[in-house]
C-alpha cells in the first residue's frame, strides 16, 4: 500500500493506492501540531503504519517556520565589508506607494552576522586569503557566547571557488562541535550574493525545524512497525527521501502548491493533455501555474515572505480568491471579491462558525452551484439561511437581489482569476488559448468554465476527486534532484567541450547523490542554461533537448539560444553578430514512480447524489440545472447547466458548455457549438 498525505491550511488530505485501487480521506488540519494531523488522517483512513510500503508527504512546516520566524538560532558569516547583505537586500521595495513602508525583518538579525577576512574573485582566485589567525579567536568566542544552534556561510564568489567556505566550515566544526554548519555552495552555486545568502540562511534556518518534525514522524511510524520508504515533496514538484531533504531543507519551502501541480500534470496527462494551465482554488487563495509539454514552468525568482529562494521552484502565481474570500464594497462604491479572507475560522457564514461577512463559498451556496446538502468530504453541514442573511445589507446598498449580488461576486472573482492567468501567460510569452485549463481544489471546478470562457480556452479538464489532487500528486511525483552552477562560458570554439564537461560533471554529482538515496535506475535528465549576449545585464532561460545536452555543438547551442531569445524579443530581432555566453547551468535528475492509477479509481465510497433539477442563478439569471453525481456523466456529452458532485468537489457546467467523461476518468468540458 502506498499513501500520500498532504497537509494544507484547512484540511489534511490522504490518498491511498493498493490492490483495490484508490481510497481517500480528508480531515481538518491541526496547525499547532502538524505531525499529529498525519497520524489522524492515517487513523481515519484505517491505515496501520506497518501496512505501508511507501509514504509520501507534503507539508507547510518549513514555510511556516519562516513566516512565524520560528527557525534556528542562526549565525551568518559573510565576507568582510558585507555583513549587511540581508538588510540591504536589492534596495527595491515591495509596495510602491506606502509612506510607512518597512522591510520584513531580516531572517538573521544584524548582531548575528559576522565578517570574515577573505576575498575571492569571480575567476576563482583569492584576492585575499582566508585569514583566521587574527579574527578567529574573536569569532569563535562570539559564536560560543551567542548560543547559536546553526551557522550559515556565504562568501563572495564561492561558486567559482568554494575553498574559503569549506575551510571556514571545517574550522567552525572543529572548534564548535555540535554547531550545524551550512555552506552556500551546498545550497546553490549560482551568483548574486544577496539571493544566495538569503537562500542559504533560509535553508539553515528551517533545517532544525524540519529535522525535528520528520524525526517525530519517523519515530511514530517506527513504533507502528513502518519499514517502507518515506519521501517528502519539494518546491520543484519532485520528491526526495525524507532523510535527504534535511540536508537541503530550503527545497521544502513553498512545496505545498507544487504537489497539486504535479497531480494535475499526471492526471491530465492520462487524457493526453500536456499543455495546461492549472487552477487550484482552496479556502483562501487561487494558485495558477503554466505547464508546457508536461513540465511546469520553474522560476528562479521565488520568494518566501519576500525573501528570495535561489532554487528551481514551480512557478505558481497566487491571488486572493478562495472560498473564504470576503465580498465587500469599497469606499468608491465598487463591488470587490477578496483579497481578504475569512480564513478557516470563522470561515464562510455557511459553515455556521460565527462568520458574519459574505464569502465566495456563501455566494456559490446562494446561487445554487453548491447545494446545501452536498456531502463534501470533511463533511460540514452548510447553513444556507446564514449564507443568504450575510448578503442582505450589501444587496440593499447596491440595489440588487441577494442572488444577483452573489452571482456578481462570483463573476468578479472569476474575472480576477482570468487576470492572473493572463499576466502569467504574458510574462511567459504564451497564449492561454493554446492550453487546457485543469481546475482542482475544492472550488476550482466551480469557476473553471467561466474562466476558460473569458480566456477563449476551448477545453477544461476536471480531474476526478479534484479536492484531493495534491495528495495524489505526492504519489504521482518523480523523485527529483537539481543542481545549478554559475560558470561563464562564451560560445566560442572551445564552448561545446566545456559545456559538455560541465553538464557531465553536474550529472555525475547528481547521480552520486541519487545512488546515495537508493533511487532507481530509470533516470531522466533536464538541462537548462541561463544565457545572454555578452554585455547584457540579464539572462534568459534556454532549455536544451536531450541530444544537445548529451553532445553539445556550437551551432546547436546558438540556435537554442536564438529560439528562446526570439520568444521574448519577438520584435527586436536577434543580433546575429554578437557573441553569446552561458552564465549559469541547471541540471535536473528525475526518477519516475511506478505506474500510478488514475485518481478516478476510487474504491469503497458509495456516493449517492439525488438526480434532480435544482435552481441555479448564473450569469445574471435564474436557471434550472440538473444535479447529479459526477460519475453518472458518461462519454456522451451532456449540456449545461449541470451541478456535478463527487466526494471532494462540485463541478459547475454552465449553459453553453458540454460535459463528458473520458476513459481516464477526467471530466472534459467543452464549449458547445453555437
Amino acid at each position: 500500500m502506498k499513501v500520500g498525505v498532504e497537509i494544507g491550511g484547512t484540511f489534511t488530505d490522504l490518498v491511498r493506492i493498493d490492490a483495490n485501487g484508490l481510497t481517500i480521506a480528508k480531515v481538518p488540519s491541526t496547525p499547532s501540531q502538524p505531525d499529529a494531523g498525519v497520524f489522524h488522517a492515517l487513523e481515519v483512513a484505517g491505515i496501520a503504519p506497518a501496512d505501508m510500503v511507501e509514504l509520501a508527504h507534503g507539508s507547510t512546516v518549513a514555510t511556516n517556520a519562516v513566516l512565524e520566524r520560528k527557525g534556528a538560532r542562526l549565525a551568518l558569516l559573510l565576507t568582510e565589508g558585507f555583513r549587511d547583505l540581508l538588510e540591504l537586500r536589492r534596495q527595491d521595495r515591495e509596495q510602491l506607494f506606502d509612506i510607512f513602508y518597512r522591510k520584513p525583518a531580516a531572517l538573521v538579525p544584524r548582531r548575528d552576522t559576522f565578517e570574515v577576512p577573505e576575498r575571492m574573485l569571480a575567476n576563482g582566485t583569492a584576492d585575499r586569503a582566508l585569514d583566521l589567525e587574527e579574527a578567529g579567536p574573536m569569532l569563535e568566542r562570539a559564536l560560543r557566547e551567542g548560543g547559536y544552534g546553526a551557522a550559515a556561510i556565504c562568501l563572495l564568489n564561492s561558486f567559482a571557488n568554494p575553498a574559503h567556505e569549506r575551510d571556514l566550515a571545517d574550522w567552525l566544526r572543529a572548534r564548535i562541535p555540535g554547531l550545524r554548519v551550512t555552506c552556500s555552495v551546498d545550497v546553490t552555486r549560482e551568483f548574486r550574493e544577496y539571493e544566495r545568502a538569503s537562500t542559504t540562511s533560509l535553508s539553515a534556518y528551517v533545517q532544525p525545524v524540519l529535522d525535528a518534525y520528520l524525526t517525530r514522524i519517523e519515530a511514530r511510524l517506527a513504533e507502528g512497525g513502518f519499514t517502507g520508504t518515506f519521501s517528502m515533496m519539494q518546491s520543484n514538484g519532485g520528491r526526495v527521501p525524507a532523510s535527504a531533504i534535511r540536508l537541503n531543507a530550503g527545497s521544502a519551502l513553498l512545496s505545498g502548491p507544487a504537489a497539486g501541480v504535479t497531480g494535475a500534470i499526471r492526471q491530465a496527462g492520462l487524457s493526453g493533455y500536456t499543455d495546461i494551465v492549472t487552477l487550484d482554488i482552496g479556502g483562501t487563495s487561487a494558485d495558477v501555474c503554466l505547464v508546457q509539454n508536461g513540465k511546469p514552468e520553474l522560476t528562479r525568482e521565488a520568494k518566501v515572505d519576500t525573501l528570495p529562494v535561489l532554487m528551481p521552484m514551480v512557478d505558481i502565481t497566487t491571488i486572493g480568491a478562495g472560498g473564504g474570500s470576503i465580498i465587500w464594497v469599497d469606499e468608491g462604491g465598487l463591488l470587490r471579491a477578496g483579497p481578504r479572507s475569512a480564513g478557516a475560522d470563522p470561515g464562510p457564514a455557511a459553515y455556521g462558525r460565527g462568520g458574519t461577512v459574505p464569502t465566495l463559498t456563501d455566494a456559490h451556496l446562494v446561487c445554487g452551484r453548491i447545494q446545501p446538502d452536498a456531502k463534501l468530504a470533511g463533511a460540514m453541514p452548510l447553513d444556507a439561511v446564514a449564507a443568504r442573511a450575510v448578503f442582505v445589507p450589501l444587496a440593499a446598498q447596491l440595489g440588487l437581489s441577494v442572488e444577483e449580488l452573489a452571482d456578481s461576486a462570483v463573476r468578479i472573482a472569476s474575472a480576477n482569476i482570468v487576470s492572473a492567468i493572463r499576466l502569467v501567460s504574458t510574462r511567459r510569452g504564451r497564449d492561454p488559448r493554446d492550453y487546457a485549463l485543469v481546475p482542482f481544489g475544492g472550488a476550482g471546478p466551480l469557476h473553471a468554465a467561466a474562466v476558460a470562457d473569458a480566456l477563449a480556452m476551448e477545453t477544461v479538464v476536471v480531474p476526478p476527486n479534484a479536492g484531493v489532487l495534491s495528495a495524489y500528486g505526492l504519489l504521482a511525483a518523480d523523485h527529483s534532484l537539481y543542481d545549478s552552477l554559475t560558470r561563464r562560458t562564451r560560445l566560442d570554439e572551445a564552448a561545446p567541450e566545456a559545456v559538455r564537461a560541465t553538464i557531465m560533471e553536474m550529472r555525475q554529482g547528481l547521480a552520486t547523490r541519487a545512488d546515495g538515496m537508493g533511487l532507481g535506475a530509470d533516470r531522466h535528465w533536464d538541462v537548462t542554461l541561463e544565457m545572454r549576449f555578452v554585455g547584457q545585464a540579464f539572462e534568459i532561460t534556454v532549455p536544451l533537448d536531450d541530444a544537445l545536452a548529451e553532445a553539445p555543438t556550437g551551432e546547436g547551442l546558438r540556435l537554442a539560444f536564438e529560439a528562446a531569445y526570439g520568444r521574448i524579443y519577438r520584435h527586436g530581432g536577434v543580433m546575429r553578430d554578437r557573441m553569446a555566453e552561458i552564465v549559469s547551468y541547471r541540471v535536473g535528475l528525475h526518477v519516475p514512480p511506478e505506474a500510478v492509477p488514475s485518481l478516478a479509481g476510487i474504491g469503497g465510497h458509495g456516493f449517492a447524489v439525488p438526480e434532480v433539477m435544482v435552481e441555479v442563478f448564473d450569469e445574471g439569471r435564474r436557471q434550472q440545472a440538473m444535479r447529479m453525481a459526477r460519475s453518472s456523466v458518461g462519454a456522451t456529452p451532456r449540456p449545461g447547466p449541470l451541478v456535478l458532485e463527487d466526494v471532494t468537489a462540485t463541478t459547475f457546467v454552465p449553459v453553453g458548455w458540454l460535459a463528458a467523461s473520458d476513459p481516464a476518468g477526467n471530466l472534459i468540458l467543452r464549449k458547445a457549438a453555437p
Partner: protein, 540 residues
C-alpha cells in the same frame, strides 16, 4: 450601469494596463526598464483621458500620460486618425519628462471608431546628444539628445520593415538596436492593450465599455475627493531645497502651498526658485507626477488606482520660469532631484494637514553614480542608482537604505560587478549606523559603498543631492545624516560635490554614502526597548 459589468471591466482595464507593463519590461533591452521599471503603460479613453495605468511600474510617471497626449492631439486631431496611426513624443516642453522618455499612443479602433488609446512610455538608455552616459554640461535641451516633437506617424508606412522614422531615429543614437528594440516593445505593449479592449467591446459592446471607462474616472475622482474632504480646510506650506545646481553654491528652494477647500486640493509651487542653467530643472509634467505620487501615497496608498479622476480633483500650479516649470530651452536631464524636493515640500505641507499620516522627509535623492573607462577603443560604462533612508512617522522608524519613493531601482550585485568590470572593485557595502535622524522614531539609515579603482584613466560622474542640506526631522525629530562622496588617494581625502566629474587614478578608493531619513518626535521619548535594540544591532 450594472455594477458587476462595471467591476469586471474596471478590473479588466487595470489588468490590461499591468499586462502591457509586463509585455514592455520582460523584453526590454534597457536595464533601467527591465530592472528599474522606469516605464509606464496605460489605457486612455477615446478623448485621451487616462483610465487605467499600470501600478507595478515606477511612481514617477503617475498621472502624466494625458499631458503628452493632449500635445499630440492638439496638433494632429483624433478625428483624423486612421487605423495603424500612432502618436509619438519625447519633448519635455510638450508633456514628456526628459528626452530619454519616449511616449507612444496607439488608437484602438473597434468597428471603425476610436474607442480608446493604449499608451506606453519607457526610459531609453541612449537618445543621442552630447555624450554617452551622464552628460552634465548641457546648457539647453537640444544638447541632451534627439527631440521628437508631438507627432503622428503610421506603423506600416513609417516604422515596420525598417520604415523611415525607425531609420531616422536609429541614425541619431549610439546604440540603435537597444533603443529601437525597446520602442518595438512599446508597440507590442500597446498591441496587448488593444487586444484586451477589443475583447471587452465584443463582449459588452462599445457603449458599455465607454461608459465603464467614464465611470472609472469618476470613481477615482470620488475616492480622491472623499479623502480630500476628510482633510481640514486650510492653507498648508512646505519647503525644502536642493544643495545647488552644480555650478554655484546657492541652495535651490522649492516651496509648495497646499490649499484644501472642501473636496478640492490645490498645490501651488509659487515661491520656488527660478530655473537654473544646468540640467537640474524639472519640466512641468515631472512636477505634476511627483505631486500626484505624493498625494496618492499620503491620501490613499496602494488601493486607489490613479487616473484622470485624480487630476480633476487636484490642481497643480507652478510659475513659468521656475525650477519646477522651466521655460525652453532649459536643460532637464537630471529632473529627478528637483522632483524629489517637490515631493518633499508637498509631503511636509500634507503632514501639517493630516498629522496622523505625517512622515518626515527621507533622503529622497536620485544618486546617479557612473564610472567610465576607455579600454581598447571602447567605452566601458558602469552606472548605478543608490538608496537612502526613509523618514520616520508617528507609527514607526523610517525604512533603512531603500530606493527613493519616486523610483524603485535595484542595486547591482557585487558578484555581477566582479564578473563584468575589471577596472574597479567594490570593497564594502553596508548600512551607515547612526545616519538616521534621531527621534521617538528614528529616520531610516543610509548606506555606504566603496569602489577601489584598478586602472588609471577611469572617470567618475555623479549627480546627487542632500550633500549639504539634510532631510529634516518632524515633530521634534532630528535631521538625517548628509550623503557624501569621498575619494581616498595617497592618505588624503578629496571631497566630491553632489554634482561633479572627477578624473581618477589607479588605487583611488571612492566612498559613496547615502544619507538618512528625518526622525519623528522627541528623541528623549524613544522607547527604551527600541534604544537597546538599536544598540544591540549596531544601528546607532
Amino acid at each position: 450601469m450594472n455594477p458587476v459589468d462595471q467591476a469586471v471591466i474596471s478590473q479588466g482595464l487595470l489588468s490590461a494596463a499591468r499586462e502591457m507593463g509586463i509585455a514592455l519590461y520582460r523584453s526590454a533591452y534597457s536595464s533601467v526598464v527591465r530592472d528599474g521599471k522606469d516605464a509606464s503603460t496605460g489605457i486612455l479613453d477615446a478623448e485621451g483621458n487616462a483610465v487605467a495605468q499600470s501600478d507595478e511600474l515606477i511612481p514617477m510617471l503617475v498621472g502624466s500620460l494625458s499631458i503628452t497626449f493632449r500635445s499630440c492631439a492638439a496638433r494632429y486631431p483624433i478625428a483624423k486618425l486612421k487605423e495603424g496611426d500612432f502618436y509619438i513624443c519625447n519633448h519635455p516642453y510638450h508633456g514628456a519628462h526628459h528626452l530619454q522618455d519616449i511616449l507612444i499612443f496607439v488608437p484602438i479602433f473597434f468597428e471603425g471608431q476610436v474607442v480608446a488609446f493604449s499608451a506606453a512610455v519607457a526610459h531609453h538608455l541612449d537618445i543621442g546628444g552630447g555624450a554617452p552616459g551622464l552628460n552634465s554640461s548641457s546648457t539647453d535641451y537640444f544638447q541632451e539628445g534627439l527631440v521628437i516633437p508631438p507627432s503622428r506617424y503610421n506603423l506600416d508606412a513609417d516604422w515596420n520593415d525598417d520604415g523611415p522614422l525607425r531609420h531616422f531615429i536609429g541614425s541619431n543614437i549610439r546604440v540603435p538596436e537597444a533603443t529601437l528594440g525597446d520602442i518595438d516593445s512599446q508597440f507590442a505593449a500597446c498591441a496587448v492593450g488593444a487586444a484586451r479592449v477589443h475583447e471587452m467591446c465584443r463582449k459588452y459592446g462599445t457603449a458599455t465599455v465607454t461608459q465603464a471607462m467614464a465611470e472609472m474616472i469618476a470613481y477615482v475622482e470620488r475616492r480622491v475627493r472623499a479623502s480630500i474632504a476628510a482633510i481640514p480646510d486650510g492653507v498648508y506650506v512646505g519647503e525644502d531645497a536642493l544643495d545647488d545646481d552644480g555650478l554655484s553654491e546657492t541652495p535651490l528652494v522649492v516651496k509648495a502651498t497646499v490649499t484644501v477647500k472642501g473636496d478640492n486640493l490645490t498645490v501651488d509651487f509659487a515661491g520656488t526658485c527660478p530655473q537654473v542653467r544646468s540640467h537640474m530643472n524639472a519640466p512641468f509634467a515631472s512636477t505634476i507626477s511627483a505631486t500626484l505620487a505624493c498625494i496618492k501615497s499620503v491620501l490613499s496608498g496602494e488601493d486607489v488606482p490613479f487616473n484622470e479622476g485624480a487630476s480633476r480633483a487636484v490642481t497643480v500650479l507652478a510659475p513659468k520660469g521656475c525650477l519646477l516649470n522651466p521655460l525652453p530651452p532649459a536643460p532637464v536631464r537630471a529632473r529627478m532631484e528637483a522632483s524629489y524636493r517637490a515631493y518633499d515640500a508637498v509631503l511636509k505641507a500634507l503632514g501639517q494637514a493630516m498629522p496622523d499620516r505625517a512622515v518626515a522627509c527621507g533622503y529622497d535623492t536620485t544618486t546617479g553614480f557612473c564610472l567610465s573607462y576607455l579600454q581598447d577603443g571602447r567605452y566601458r560604462v558602469f552606472l548605478e542608482l543608490r538608496d537612502g533612508g526613509y523618514g520616520a512617522s508617528a507609527i514607526g522608524d523610517g525604512c533603512d537604505a531603500v530606493a527613493g519613493p519616486l523610483s524603485n531601482c535595484t542595486n547591482t550585485p557585487i558578484e555581477q560587478i566582479d564578473a563584468d568590470y575589471d577596472f574597479f572593485r567594490i570593497e564594502h557595502y553596508k548600512l551607515r549606523p547612526g545616519s538616521g535622524g534621531a527621534g521617538a522614531h528614528r529616520g531610516g539609515l543610509g548606506s555606504s559603498r566603496s569602489y577601489r579603482i584598478l586602472a588609471d584613466g577611469v572617470r567618475l560622474a555623479i549627480y546627487a543631492d542632500r550633500f549639504r542640506i539634510a532631510a529634516g526631522g518632524l515633530a521634534g525629530g532630528g535631521a538625517g545624516a548628509l550623503g557624501h562622496c569621498h575619494v581616498h588617494r595617497d592618505g588624503e581625502v578629496i571631497e566630491v560635490r553632489s554634482k561633479a566629474d572627477v578624473a581618477l587614478r589607479k588605487g583611488d578608493l571612492i566612498v559613496l554614502a547615502s544619507g538618512g531619513g528625518g526622525g519623528h518626535g522627541n528623541p528623549a521619548l524613544r522607547d527604551a526597548s527600541a534604544i537597546s535594540a538599536d544598540a544591540a544591532q549596531g544601528y546607532v
